[in-house]
Protein backbone atom coordinates (compact mmCIF):
# COMPACT_ATOMS: atom_id res chain seq x y z
CA UNK A 1 0.00 0.00 0.00
CA UNK A 2 1.27 3.49 -0.81
CA UNK A 3 1.21 6.14 1.91
CA UNK A 4 -1.76 8.49 1.92
CA UNK A 5 -0.74 12.05 1.20
CA UNK A 6 -2.49 15.24 2.19
CA UNK A 7 -3.89 17.10 -0.80
CA UNK A 8 -2.03 20.37 -1.34
CA UNK A 9 -4.00 22.08 -4.07
CA UNK A 10 -7.01 23.34 -2.16
CA UNK A 11 -5.72 25.59 0.62
CA UNK A 12 -7.17 28.25 2.92
CA UNK A 13 -8.72 30.02 -0.06
CA UNK A 14 -10.82 27.00 -0.96
CA UNK A 15 -11.63 26.53 2.72
CA UNK A 16 -12.64 30.21 2.76
CA UNK A 17 -15.19 29.55 0.06
CA UNK A 18 -16.76 26.70 2.00
CA UNK A 19 -16.68 28.81 5.16
CA UNK A 20 -17.92 32.15 3.83
CA UNK A 21 -20.20 30.57 1.25
CA UNK A 22 -21.74 28.23 3.81
CA UNK A 23 -22.25 30.97 6.40
CA UNK A 24 -23.50 33.40 3.76
CA UNK A 25 -26.03 31.00 2.32
CA UNK A 26 -27.19 30.06 5.81
CA UNK A 27 -27.58 33.73 6.63
CA UNK A 28 -29.64 34.32 3.49
CA UNK A 29 -31.87 31.35 4.30
CA UNK A 30 -32.40 32.72 7.82
CA UNK A 31 -33.04 36.21 6.42
CA UNK A 32 -35.63 34.76 4.04
CA UNK A 33 -37.42 33.23 7.03
CA UNK A 34 -37.14 36.50 8.90
CA UNK A 35 -38.62 38.37 5.95
CA UNK A 36 -41.67 36.12 6.00
CA UNK A 37 -42.02 36.63 9.77
CA UNK A 38 -41.79 40.40 9.53
CA UNK A 39 -38.41 40.59 11.28
CA UNK A 40 -35.35 42.56 10.15
CA UNK A 41 -33.83 41.00 7.07
CA UNK A 42 -32.38 43.60 4.69
CA UNK A 43 -28.92 44.02 6.22
CA UNK A 44 -28.46 40.27 6.92
CA UNK A 45 -29.51 39.54 3.34
CA UNK A 46 -26.89 41.94 2.06
CA UNK A 47 -24.28 40.52 4.42
CA UNK A 48 -25.04 36.99 3.26
CA UNK A 49 -24.58 38.01 -0.36
CA UNK A 50 -21.28 39.69 0.48
CA UNK A 51 -20.09 36.56 2.27
CA UNK A 52 -20.90 34.37 -0.71
CA UNK A 53 -19.22 36.81 -3.07
CA UNK A 54 -16.21 36.96 -0.76
CA UNK A 55 -15.91 33.18 -0.70
CA UNK A 56 -16.08 32.96 -4.48
CA UNK A 57 -13.49 35.71 -4.76
CA UNK A 58 -11.13 33.62 -2.66
CA UNK A 59 -11.57 30.74 -5.08
CA UNK A 60 -10.92 33.12 -7.95
CA UNK A 61 -7.61 33.97 -6.32
CA UNK A 62 -6.76 30.27 -6.08
CA UNK A 63 -7.45 29.00 -9.59
CA UNK A 64 -4.55 28.75 -11.99
CA UNK A 65 -6.17 30.76 -14.79
CA UNK A 66 -8.36 33.40 -13.11
CA UNK A 67 -9.06 35.28 -16.36
CA UNK A 68 -10.79 32.20 -17.69
CA UNK A 69 -13.08 32.01 -14.68
CA UNK A 70 -16.21 32.25 -16.81
CA UNK A 71 -15.41 28.78 -18.18
CA UNK A 72 -16.65 27.49 -14.84
CA UNK A 73 -20.19 27.74 -16.19
CA UNK A 74 -19.63 25.29 -19.06
CA UNK A 75 -20.58 21.98 -17.47
CA UNK A 76 -23.89 22.10 -15.59
CA UNK A 77 -24.80 18.59 -16.72
CA UNK A 78 -22.59 16.89 -14.14
CA UNK A 79 -20.28 19.35 -12.37
CA UNK A 80 -21.38 20.55 -8.95
CA UNK A 81 -18.87 23.37 -9.23
CA UNK A 82 -20.66 24.69 -12.31
CA UNK A 83 -23.99 24.36 -10.54
CA UNK A 84 -22.62 26.22 -7.53
CA UNK A 85 -21.50 29.04 -9.84
CA UNK A 86 -24.85 29.20 -11.61
CA UNK A 87 -26.74 29.34 -8.33
CA UNK A 88 -24.41 32.10 -7.17
CA UNK A 89 -25.51 34.04 -10.24
CA UNK A 90 -29.06 33.60 -9.00
CA UNK A 91 -28.50 34.18 -5.28
CA UNK A 92 -26.45 37.34 -5.49
CA UNK A 93 -28.82 39.53 -7.56
CA UNK A 94 -31.87 38.20 -5.72
CA UNK A 95 -30.33 38.92 -2.33
CA UNK A 96 -29.10 42.33 -3.38
CA UNK A 97 -32.49 43.18 -4.86
CA UNK A 98 -34.22 41.91 -1.72
CA UNK A 99 -31.96 44.01 0.47
CA UNK A 100 -32.45 47.09 -1.71
CA UNK A 101 -36.23 46.88 -2.06
CA UNK A 102 -37.19 45.16 1.18
CA UNK A 103 -39.52 42.84 -0.73
CA UNK A 104 -40.10 39.61 1.27
CA UNK A 105 -40.80 37.71 -1.94
CA UNK A 106 -37.34 38.47 -3.26
CA UNK A 107 -35.85 37.45 0.06
CA UNK A 108 -37.71 34.15 -0.13
CA UNK A 109 -36.45 33.52 -3.65
CA UNK A 110 -32.92 34.36 -2.53
CA UNK A 111 -33.31 31.98 0.40
CA UNK A 112 -34.33 29.11 -1.87
CA UNK A 113 -31.43 29.78 -4.23
CA UNK A 114 -29.05 30.03 -1.26
CA UNK A 115 -30.23 26.65 0.01
CA UNK A 116 -29.39 25.25 -3.41
CA UNK A 117 -25.99 26.92 -3.32
CA UNK A 118 -25.27 25.32 0.04
CA UNK A 119 -26.37 21.92 -1.28
CA UNK A 120 -23.97 22.33 -4.21
CA UNK A 121 -21.10 23.04 -1.83
CA UNK A 122 -21.82 19.82 0.03
CA UNK A 123 -22.00 17.87 -3.21
CA UNK A 124 -18.72 19.35 -4.47
CA UNK A 125 -16.98 17.57 -1.64
CA UNK A 126 -19.03 14.41 -2.06
CA UNK A 127 -17.94 14.15 -5.71
CA UNK A 128 -14.24 14.29 -4.82
CA UNK A 129 -13.54 10.57 -5.20
CA UNK A 130 -9.84 10.99 -4.64
CA UNK A 131 -10.33 12.13 -1.03
CA UNK A 132 -12.04 9.43 1.06
CA UNK A 133 -12.81 11.77 3.97
CA UNK A 134 -14.82 14.01 1.65
CA UNK A 135 -16.57 11.08 0.02
CA UNK A 136 -18.38 10.08 3.20
CA UNK A 137 -22.14 10.44 2.60
CA UNK A 138 -22.47 11.73 6.18
CA UNK A 139 -20.52 14.84 5.20
CA UNK A 140 -23.42 16.20 3.13
CA UNK A 141 -25.80 16.74 6.08
CA UNK A 142 -22.83 17.98 8.13
CA UNK A 143 -22.07 20.71 5.59
CA UNK A 144 -25.74 21.64 5.26
CA UNK A 145 -26.22 21.82 9.02
CA UNK A 146 -23.01 23.81 9.40
CA UNK A 147 -24.17 26.42 6.92
CA UNK A 148 -27.50 26.82 8.68
CA UNK A 149 -25.90 26.97 12.13
CA UNK A 150 -23.36 29.58 11.01
CA UNK A 151 -25.94 31.66 9.15
CA UNK A 152 -28.56 31.58 11.89
CA UNK A 153 -25.82 32.39 14.38
CA UNK A 154 -24.70 35.43 12.41
CA UNK A 155 -28.31 36.55 12.07
CA UNK A 156 -28.36 37.12 15.83
CA UNK A 157 -26.13 40.15 15.23
CA UNK A 158 -29.14 41.73 13.54
CA UNK A 159 -31.75 40.49 15.99
CA UNK A 160 -29.98 39.54 19.22
CA UNK A 161 -33.12 39.72 21.36
CA UNK A 162 -35.41 37.70 19.13
CA UNK A 163 -36.24 34.51 20.98
CA UNK A 164 -37.41 32.75 17.84
CA UNK A 165 -34.07 33.42 16.17
CA UNK A 166 -32.17 32.40 19.29
CA UNK A 167 -34.12 29.17 19.29
CA UNK A 168 -33.41 28.66 15.60
CA UNK A 169 -29.68 29.24 16.08
CA UNK A 170 -29.61 26.89 19.07
CA UNK A 171 -31.52 24.20 17.20
CA UNK A 172 -29.30 24.57 14.12
CA UNK A 173 -26.21 24.43 16.33
CA UNK A 174 -27.43 21.23 17.97
CA UNK A 175 -28.20 19.70 14.60
CA UNK A 176 -24.74 20.68 13.38
CA UNK A 177 -23.10 19.12 16.42
CA UNK A 178 -25.06 15.93 15.85
CA UNK A 179 -24.31 15.86 12.13
CA UNK A 180 -20.57 16.39 12.65
CA UNK A 181 -20.51 13.78 15.41
CA UNK A 182 -22.18 11.36 13.00
CA UNK A 183 -19.64 12.27 10.34
CA UNK A 184 -16.78 11.60 12.74
CA UNK A 185 -18.31 8.23 13.64
CA UNK A 186 -18.54 7.37 9.96
CA UNK A 187 -14.87 8.33 9.50
CA UNK A 188 -13.97 6.02 12.37
CA UNK A 189 -15.51 3.10 10.51
CA UNK A 190 -14.15 4.06 7.10
CA UNK A 191 -11.10 2.16 5.86
CA UNK A 192 -8.00 4.32 5.60
CA UNK A 193 -9.52 7.38 7.24
CA UNK A 194 -7.23 7.29 10.25
CA UNK A 195 -5.15 10.29 9.16
CA UNK A 196 -8.28 12.35 8.55
CA UNK A 197 -9.63 11.44 11.96
CA UNK A 198 -6.34 12.40 13.51
CA UNK A 199 -6.59 15.82 11.84
CA UNK A 200 -9.87 16.42 13.65
CA UNK A 201 -8.52 14.97 16.88
CA UNK A 202 -5.64 17.45 17.14
CA UNK A 203 -5.54 20.70 19.07
CA UNK A 204 -7.26 22.70 16.32
CA UNK A 205 -10.02 20.15 16.06
CA UNK A 206 -10.57 20.11 19.82
CA UNK A 207 -10.67 23.91 19.85
CA UNK A 208 -13.29 23.94 17.11
CA UNK A 209 -15.40 21.44 19.03
CA UNK A 210 -14.97 23.44 22.22
CA UNK A 211 -16.04 26.62 20.42
CA UNK A 212 -19.05 24.78 19.11
CA UNK A 213 -20.01 23.57 22.58
CA UNK A 214 -19.38 26.99 24.12
CA UNK A 215 -21.53 28.68 21.49
CA UNK A 216 -24.37 26.30 22.28
CA UNK A 217 -24.02 27.16 25.95
CA UNK A 218 -24.11 30.89 25.24
CA UNK A 219 -27.17 30.52 23.04
CA UNK A 220 -28.94 28.47 25.71
CA UNK A 221 -28.07 31.09 28.33
CA UNK A 222 -29.31 33.89 26.10
CA UNK A 223 -32.53 32.00 25.59
CA UNK A 224 -32.95 31.79 29.36
CA UNK A 225 -33.36 35.59 29.52
CA UNK A 226 -29.69 36.46 29.87
CA UNK A 227 -28.42 39.69 28.22
CA UNK A 228 -29.16 39.79 24.51
CA UNK A 229 -25.52 40.42 23.66
CA UNK A 230 -24.80 36.92 24.90
CA UNK A 231 -26.92 35.54 22.07
CA UNK A 232 -25.03 37.56 19.49
CA UNK A 233 -21.73 36.40 20.97
CA UNK A 234 -22.95 32.81 20.87
CA UNK A 235 -23.97 33.26 17.25
CA UNK A 236 -20.62 34.65 16.21
CA UNK A 237 -18.86 31.86 18.06
CA UNK A 238 -21.05 29.34 16.25
CA UNK A 239 -19.90 30.82 12.94
CA UNK A 240 -16.25 30.75 14.01
CA UNK A 241 -16.54 27.14 15.13
CA UNK A 242 -17.91 26.23 11.73
CA UNK A 243 -15.08 28.06 10.02
CA UNK A 244 -12.60 26.07 12.10
CA UNK A 245 -14.19 22.73 11.28
CA UNK A 246 -14.35 23.44 7.56
CA UNK A 247 -10.79 24.75 7.41
CA UNK A 248 -9.64 21.55 9.07
CA UNK A 249 -11.73 19.49 6.69
CA UNK A 250 -10.29 21.09 3.58
CA UNK A 251 -6.71 21.86 4.51
CA UNK A 252 -5.83 19.15 7.04
CA UNK A 253 -8.16 16.17 6.67
CA UNK A 254 -8.04 15.80 2.89
CA UNK A 255 -5.88 12.72 2.41
CA UNK A 256 -5.66 10.89 -0.87
CA UNK A 257 -6.71 7.32 -1.52
CA UNK A 258 -3.77 4.96 -1.17
CA UNK A 259 -2.99 2.34 -3.78
CA UNK A 260 -3.87 -1.07 -2.41
CA UNK A 261 -2.94 -4.06 -4.52
CA UNK A 262 -5.55 -6.81 -4.59
CA UNK A 263 -2.86 -9.29 -5.70
CA UNK A 264 0.90 -9.54 -5.73
CA UNK A 265 2.73 -10.98 -8.73
CA UNK A 266 4.89 -14.06 -8.77
CA UNK A 267 8.03 -12.28 -9.82
CA UNK A 268 9.89 -13.45 -12.88
CA UNK A 269 6.93 -15.41 -14.15
CA UNK A 270 5.89 -12.96 -16.83
CA UNK A 271 4.01 -14.34 -19.77
CA UNK A 272 5.79 -14.51 -23.12
CA UNK A 273 2.95 -15.45 -25.40
CA UNK A 274 2.17 -12.14 -27.03
CA UNK A 275 5.04 -9.90 -26.23
CA UNK A 276 6.81 -9.96 -29.58
CA UNK A 277 6.08 -7.20 -32.02
Amino acid sequence: MTPRTRQRHWDWRAAGNFTAGGAGSGLIVTSALAAQAGAAFRLPLLTGALLIAGGLSLVWLEIGRPWRALNVFFHPATSWMTREGLLALLVLPLALAGAATGAPGLALAAGLAAAGFLFCQAQILRAARGIPAWRQPELVPAILAAGLAEGSGLYLLAAPAGRVWLLLALAAGLVRAGAWWRYQQALAGAPGAGASRAAFGGLSGRLAWAAQAFSLGLLALALASAPAALGAAGGVLAALAGAGLKTLLITRAGFTRAVVLPAFPVRGGGGHAHLGR
Binding site: M1, T2, T5, Q7, H9, W10, V59, E62, I63, G64, R65, P66, R68, A69, N71, V72, F73, F74, H75, T78, S79, W80, M81, T82, G85, I124, A127, A128, R129, G130, I131, W134, G254, T256, R257, V259, L261, P262, A263, F264, P265, V266, R267, G268, G269, G270, G271, A273, H274, L275, R277
Partner: protein, 216 residues
Protein backbone atom coordinates in the same frame (compact mmCIF):
# COMPACT_ATOMS: atom_id res chain seq x y z
CA UNK B 1 -15.32 0.20 -31.78
CA UNK B 2 -11.88 0.96 -30.46
CA UNK B 3 -10.91 1.08 -26.79
CA UNK B 4 -7.27 1.81 -26.13
CA UNK B 5 -5.91 0.41 -22.89
CA UNK B 6 -2.57 -0.12 -21.21
CA UNK B 7 -1.45 -3.44 -19.76
CA UNK B 8 1.35 -3.71 -17.22
CA UNK B 9 2.79 -7.14 -16.48
CA UNK B 10 3.82 -6.86 -12.84
CA UNK B 11 5.94 -10.01 -13.11
CA UNK B 12 8.11 -8.34 -15.71
CA UNK B 13 8.46 -4.79 -14.44
CA UNK B 14 11.86 -4.28 -12.84
CA UNK B 15 11.24 -0.75 -11.62
CA UNK B 16 13.90 0.80 -13.84
CA UNK B 17 11.80 3.95 -14.41
CA UNK B 18 12.80 4.09 -18.08
CA UNK B 19 9.12 4.61 -18.92
CA UNK B 20 9.04 7.56 -16.53
CA UNK B 21 12.13 9.07 -18.12
CA UNK B 22 10.83 8.51 -21.64
CA UNK B 23 7.54 10.18 -20.74
CA UNK B 24 9.27 13.15 -19.15
CA UNK B 25 11.57 13.51 -22.10
CA UNK B 26 8.85 13.19 -24.69
CA UNK B 27 6.22 15.31 -23.01
CA UNK B 28 8.55 17.89 -21.49
CA UNK B 29 6.93 17.71 -18.08
CA UNK B 30 8.44 19.99 -15.43
CA UNK B 31 10.30 18.77 -12.34
CA UNK B 32 7.98 17.03 -9.91
CA UNK B 33 5.41 16.14 -12.55
CA UNK B 34 5.39 12.54 -13.70
CA UNK B 35 2.62 11.38 -15.94
CA UNK B 36 4.02 7.83 -15.94
CA UNK B 37 5.14 6.85 -12.48
CA UNK B 38 6.42 3.55 -11.18
CA UNK B 39 5.50 2.97 -7.56
CA UNK B 40 7.82 0.85 -5.45
CA UNK B 41 5.59 -1.09 -3.07
CA UNK B 42 6.47 -3.41 -0.23
CA UNK B 43 4.30 -5.57 1.96
CA UNK B 44 4.69 -8.00 4.83
CA UNK B 45 7.24 -8.08 7.64
CA UNK B 46 10.72 -9.55 7.67
CA UNK B 47 11.48 -12.22 6.56
CA UNK B 48 8.17 -12.60 4.74
CA UNK B 49 8.37 -9.46 2.62
CA UNK B 50 7.31 -8.85 -0.94
CA UNK B 51 8.08 -6.05 -3.29
CA UNK B 52 6.39 -4.99 -6.49
CA UNK B 53 6.87 -2.22 -9.01
CA UNK B 54 3.63 -0.70 -10.16
CA UNK B 55 3.57 1.47 -13.29
CA UNK B 56 0.73 3.91 -12.92
CA UNK B 57 -0.71 7.15 -14.22
CA UNK B 58 -3.99 8.19 -15.78
CA UNK B 59 -6.18 5.11 -16.04
CA UNK B 60 -8.32 6.51 -18.89
CA UNK B 61 -11.42 5.29 -17.12
CA UNK B 62 -14.68 4.28 -18.77
CA UNK B 63 -16.41 6.64 -16.33
CA UNK B 64 -13.79 9.24 -15.45
CA UNK B 65 -14.55 11.06 -12.18
CA UNK B 66 -12.38 13.93 -13.43
CA UNK B 67 -14.63 14.43 -16.43
CA UNK B 68 -17.73 14.44 -14.25
CA UNK B 69 -16.50 17.20 -11.95
CA UNK B 70 -14.65 19.39 -14.48
CA UNK B 71 -16.61 22.67 -14.57
CA UNK B 72 -15.08 23.92 -17.81
CA UNK B 73 -15.46 20.79 -19.99
CA UNK B 74 -11.69 20.91 -20.49
CA UNK B 75 -11.55 17.22 -19.61
CA UNK B 76 -13.01 15.13 -22.37
CA UNK B 77 -13.27 11.51 -23.37
CA UNK B 78 -12.72 10.42 -26.92
CA UNK B 79 -14.65 7.64 -28.58
CA UNK B 80 -11.56 5.43 -28.29
CA UNK B 81 -11.56 5.85 -24.49
CA UNK B 82 -8.65 8.27 -24.23
CA UNK B 83 -9.27 11.03 -21.69
CA UNK B 84 -7.78 14.37 -22.69
CA UNK B 85 -7.44 17.88 -21.27
CA UNK B 86 -8.00 20.98 -23.37
CA UNK B 87 -5.39 23.35 -21.93
CA UNK B 88 -7.13 26.32 -23.50
CA UNK B 89 -10.34 25.66 -21.58
CA UNK B 90 -8.98 24.51 -18.22
CA UNK B 91 -9.24 27.13 -15.46
CA UNK B 92 -6.87 25.33 -13.09
CA UNK B 93 -9.41 24.91 -10.29
CA UNK B 94 -7.85 21.60 -9.25
CA UNK B 95 -11.21 19.88 -8.80
CA UNK B 96 -10.14 17.04 -11.11
CA UNK B 97 -7.13 16.42 -8.86
CA UNK B 98 -9.51 15.93 -5.94
CA UNK B 99 -11.76 13.64 -7.98
CA UNK B 100 -9.11 11.31 -9.41
CA UNK B 101 -8.71 8.22 -7.19
CA UNK B 102 -5.39 7.44 -8.87
CA UNK B 103 -3.53 10.71 -8.15
CA UNK B 104 -2.81 10.84 -11.85
CA UNK B 105 -3.16 14.57 -12.38
CA UNK B 106 -0.84 17.49 -11.75
CA UNK B 107 -1.26 21.23 -11.61
CA UNK B 108 1.82 23.31 -12.26
CA UNK B 109 1.50 26.76 -10.75
CA UNK B 110 4.62 28.34 -12.22
CA UNK B 111 7.18 27.50 -14.90
CA UNK B 112 9.87 25.15 -13.61
CA UNK B 113 12.86 23.63 -15.35
CA UNK B 114 15.26 20.83 -14.68
CA UNK B 115 18.25 23.07 -13.97
CA UNK B 116 17.27 26.38 -12.44
CA UNK B 117 15.17 29.26 -13.67
CA UNK B 118 15.90 28.99 -17.38
CA UNK B 119 15.05 26.08 -19.64
CA UNK B 120 17.76 23.93 -21.13
CA UNK B 121 18.05 23.93 -24.89
CA UNK B 122 16.16 20.64 -25.03
CA UNK B 123 13.38 22.01 -22.82
CA UNK B 124 13.13 25.23 -24.79
CA UNK B 125 12.89 23.35 -28.07
CA UNK B 126 9.72 21.54 -27.10
CA UNK B 127 6.22 22.61 -26.20
CA UNK B 128 6.01 23.09 -22.43
CA UNK B 129 3.27 21.70 -20.24
CA UNK B 130 0.60 24.31 -19.62
CA UNK B 131 1.07 26.51 -16.59
CA UNK B 132 -1.85 27.01 -14.24
CA UNK B 133 -3.82 24.16 -15.79
CA UNK B 134 -4.24 20.48 -15.05
CA UNK B 135 -2.11 17.97 -16.91
CA UNK B 136 -1.84 14.20 -17.10
CA UNK B 137 -0.96 11.25 -19.31
CA UNK B 138 -2.89 11.24 -22.57
CA UNK B 139 -1.52 7.94 -23.87
CA UNK B 140 0.61 10.07 -26.25
CA UNK B 141 -2.53 10.81 -28.19
CA UNK B 142 -0.65 12.89 -30.73
CA UNK B 143 1.52 9.91 -31.67
CA UNK B 144 -1.52 7.66 -31.87
CA UNK B 145 -3.43 10.00 -34.16
CA UNK B 146 -0.44 10.76 -36.35
CA UNK B 147 0.39 7.08 -36.60
CA UNK B 148 -3.13 6.06 -37.47
CA UNK B 149 -3.26 8.73 -40.14
CA UNK B 150 -0.29 6.95 -41.70
CA UNK B 151 -2.03 3.60 -41.51
CA UNK B 152 -0.06 2.38 -38.50
CA UNK B 153 -1.49 0.36 -35.62
CA UNK B 154 -1.08 1.70 -32.08
CA UNK B 155 0.45 -0.96 -29.88
CA UNK B 156 2.09 -2.74 -32.81
CA UNK B 157 3.92 0.03 -34.63
CA UNK B 158 6.27 2.00 -32.38
CA UNK B 159 5.59 5.26 -34.23
CA UNK B 160 1.96 5.02 -33.17
CA UNK B 161 2.56 3.73 -29.65
CA UNK B 162 2.97 5.63 -26.35
CA UNK B 163 6.57 6.47 -25.50
CA UNK B 164 6.51 4.61 -22.19
CA UNK B 165 5.57 1.37 -23.94
CA UNK B 166 8.26 1.81 -26.57
CA UNK B 167 10.89 2.41 -23.92
CA UNK B 168 10.02 -0.44 -21.57
CA UNK B 169 13.10 -2.65 -21.37
CA UNK B 170 11.33 -5.75 -20.09
CA UNK B 171 8.21 -5.76 -22.21
CA UNK B 172 6.11 -5.17 -19.11
CA UNK B 173 4.09 -2.34 -20.64
CA UNK B 174 1.78 -3.09 -23.51
CA UNK B 175 -0.74 -0.93 -25.31
CA UNK B 176 -3.48 -1.60 -27.76
CA UNK B 177 -7.10 -1.84 -28.68
CA UNK B 178 -9.08 -3.88 -26.19
CA UNK B 179 -11.78 -4.48 -28.79
CA UNK B 180 -9.38 -6.02 -31.29
CA UNK B 181 -9.72 -9.75 -30.57
CA UNK B 182 -6.51 -10.49 -32.46
CA UNK B 183 -4.49 -7.73 -30.81
CA UNK B 184 -1.84 -8.31 -28.15
CA UNK B 185 -3.79 -6.64 -25.37
CA UNK B 186 -6.92 -8.72 -25.70
CA UNK B 187 -4.85 -11.90 -25.88
CA UNK B 188 -2.81 -11.02 -22.79
CA UNK B 189 -5.93 -10.31 -20.79
CA UNK B 190 -7.54 -13.52 -21.96
CA UNK B 191 -4.56 -15.68 -21.01
CA UNK B 192 -3.50 -14.14 -17.70
CA UNK B 193 -5.01 -13.11 -14.41
CA UNK B 194 -5.36 -9.40 -14.10
CA UNK B 195 -6.75 -6.72 -11.85
CA UNK B 196 -7.44 -3.02 -12.04
CA UNK B 197 -6.94 -0.44 -9.31
CA UNK B 198 -9.79 0.80 -7.12
CA UNK B 199 -12.46 -1.31 -8.77
CA UNK B 200 -14.71 -0.35 -5.86
CA UNK B 201 -14.90 3.16 -7.32
CA UNK B 202 -16.57 1.80 -10.46
CA UNK B 203 -14.54 4.00 -12.74
CA UNK B 204 -13.74 1.21 -15.19
CA UNK B 205 -10.00 1.86 -15.51
CA UNK B 206 -8.35 1.32 -18.89
CA UNK B 207 -5.15 0.16 -17.18
CA UNK B 208 -4.81 -3.56 -16.51
CA UNK B 209 -2.24 -5.29 -14.32
CA UNK B 210 -1.19 -8.85 -15.06
CA UNK B 211 -0.08 -10.70 -11.98
CA UNK B 212 -0.16 -14.40 -12.73
CA UNK B 213 -0.94 -16.94 -15.35
CA UNK B 214 -4.52 -18.04 -15.46
CA UNK B 215 -5.23 -21.17 -13.42
CA UNK B 216 -5.29 -24.36 -15.52
Amino acid sequence: MTRYVMVADLRRCVGCQTCTAACKEGNNTPPGVQWRRVLDLESGTYPEVRRVFLPTGCQHCDHPPCLEVCPSTATRQRADGIVTIDEDLCIGCGYCLMACPYEARALTAAPAFAFGATPTAAEAARRPVGIGVASKCDFCVGRIDAGRARGLTPGRDPEATPLCVNSCISGALRFGDLDDPHGPVAALLAEHQWFRLHEDQRTGPGFYYLWDAAPP
